[in-house]
Symmetry: C2
Subunit: 356 residues, 2 copies
């Protein structure tokens, strides 16, 4: 049988015991600690495969017959409302998966799209969403190659859910993964944080005022290819989506078993996002982004990466925001603007449901 | 940029005009003519890529650096209820995508899985579903390599929807596709039809009685590899899911621009399925299957395929059911048991919503 010749991906067996949780709650979709609990205690022990256990948003898969490596990823999109300032579920569903594949260092080529439609959805709404997907796919330079559509009764879905999967190829030998951050590395961000989450909340009316903020939703694959050309020793690429910058850096600190120290004054934040967060008591470090990338590189490559990002439309406000240390292992520390040091923990429970 | 070296898949531009439809209705998910209308008039003109236009349940994708070809597919699973005689949404979600990839002649290797969970879903239900996915993946010999989980508010989904995508590799030069049927070919089916649809209906209580029928949901990749070893010139493989045998053969007749003639007395049907259909006025030729494959091969290879299928657990009741003719182009004709000839059209509208 041919699959005998195809390597099973080897890795550690998931050691975590099954853990009792009774019912799914919204917090399980937050991207924070409750999501991690659900994934680690329920999904991984039951579906464990080494790529899943690696803890990235993509899987890299060996190919038998040549040196290149497949990268695949999948993302469910349930954002509410379907249209928001700067984007919509269609653009989000293409960019989300393009970006997850690109974060492996792969060039994404193909996307599949599954649609779960609620009975009664206006077809004109669907058309607007598909037009937006097409435009995003063209911008990213990828093709939507397979699809599926299901319809459920009114009240059994919410307009439309779109699930995309992406396939790319990694043409390089340097491994890029959340477990590759090294002490001495520099932490970069490609621009302002929190824009996507605040734009969606504003459109929902949850702010009580209009925030004048546009979502940053964008395909980052071209930006990432430019980064990798200038910084071939890049260690980590990851987009800080659900759970925001703080939660994503915590994941990396745990995967790499290192500590990360951030300087608050260096983190770029749109003034309108900062103002909205202050009024609502949100911390922008935990707000979702859909068009930003965290880049962790050896110190000697950091300046060139900042330069490359700054000259790209999706990296205009790129900044160096922190440094990787040996200690404290698995922790992210924030040096605040008033000089204090604060532990930035992973997001607890639910802050903003259905943000992506 | 690397994507310049990666071939864009070329093919005809979709010629169909945008067509007015107002709202999504359940019939758009039936797998029959309304689904085809939605796909042809809305999805294809907007998302057109040559693999989508090819009209198969999979896309085959060229690879630059070696001779093998990627096959990918995606499937949304919204079956209600989640558990039914012979299977559940977990087994269905693995088998559905394994089978779609396998129908290209590929060996499926990897699956990604997206979960949309409704707030309030008992975690014990999720655990049962994941255990079933794991068992099906092991049986198929594939790995679940990437996943995503989203949670929506109570009443915005229905328990759990599972969306899987599969990746496989085609290691052969013979093209297998719905457009490859040739006059003189023989049409085979791997076993009894209608079992899945009737099992789900029975569990829903829609029959008014218990049908004692088990769903046939099964991974067919090993069966298909065995078929291809004995019949290297196989022209078409397709699983008759939504819309059933009749609708699937109509799709093939249109893609290949040939006519298909079936003999009703040769089509294997479980007596309990036949009885349930007679009581309810359903035609088993339009009922969904989840563990059957239609095989269209040159006449000289048909006997060996029947023999190979019959000796496999998932091909026990394999039968030769019809022949491919030049005419009538795009039509399926049924010679009934009483000797009349009937046109078997594509399924109209909705017969059985949320069957998969």
């Amino acid at each position: 049988m041919e699959e005998r010749n195809f390597p099973t991906i080897e890795g550690p067996v998931c050691p975590r015991p099954f853990h009792h949780m009774e019912k799914i709650v919204l917090g399980h979709g937050s991207g924070g600690r409750m999501t991690r609990d659900l994934v680690e205690k329920i999904f991984l022990p039951l579906l464990s495969s080494p790529p899943l256990l690696a803890g990235n948003d993509f899987a890299t898969l060996p190919q038998v017959k040549n040196g290149s490596v497949l990268a695949v990823s999948t993302d469910c999109h349930v954002v509410s409302p379907l249209f928001f300032p700067g984007g919509d579920i269609g653009r989000l569903s293409v960019c989300g998966t393009v970006n997850d594949v690109a974060m492996s260092g792969a060039q994404p080529y193909y996307i599949t799209a599954g649609f779960i439609l609620e009975e009664g959805l206006p077809v004109s709404t669907l058309v607007r969403i598909l037009e937006s997907m097409k435009a995003a796919a063209e911008e990213a330079g990828i093709q939507i190659v397979a699809g599926d559509t299901k319809v459920v009764e009114k009240g059994k879905a919410d307009g439309v859910f779109i699930i995309t999967s992406g396939v790319g190829l990694i043409h390089r030998s340097q491994k890029i993964s959340g477990d590759q951050a090294k002490p001495g590395d520099v932490v970069l961000i490609s621009g302002t944080i929190g824009d996507h989450g605040i734009a969606v909340l504003s459109e929902r009316g949850d702010l009580g005022f209009s925030a004048q903020v546009l979502s940053d939703v964008a395909p980052l694959n071209h930006l990432i290819q430019a980064i990798l050309q200038t910084a071939p020793n890049t260690h980590v690429l990851r987009d800080p989506t659900r759970g925001g910058l703080a939660t994503t850096l915590n994941e990396i600190a745990l995967q790499s078993q290192i500590g990360i120290r951030l300087e608050e004054r260096l983190i770029p934040i749109n003034p309108a996002v900062r103002a909205a967060c202050e009024m609502l008591g949100f911390d922008p470090l935990y707000i979702a982004n859909e068009g930003k990338v965290i880049v962790i590189v050896p110190a000697e490559e950091a300046d060139q990466v900042i330069q490359v990002m700054s000259s790209h439309p999706y990296g205009k406000n790129a900044a160096r925001i922190g440094v990787v240390h040996e200690l404290p292992v698995g922790r992210v520390l924030l040096q605040t603007t008033i000089g204090a040091t604060r532990i930035l923990d992973i997001l607890e429970g639910e802050m903003l449901p259905r943000i992506c």
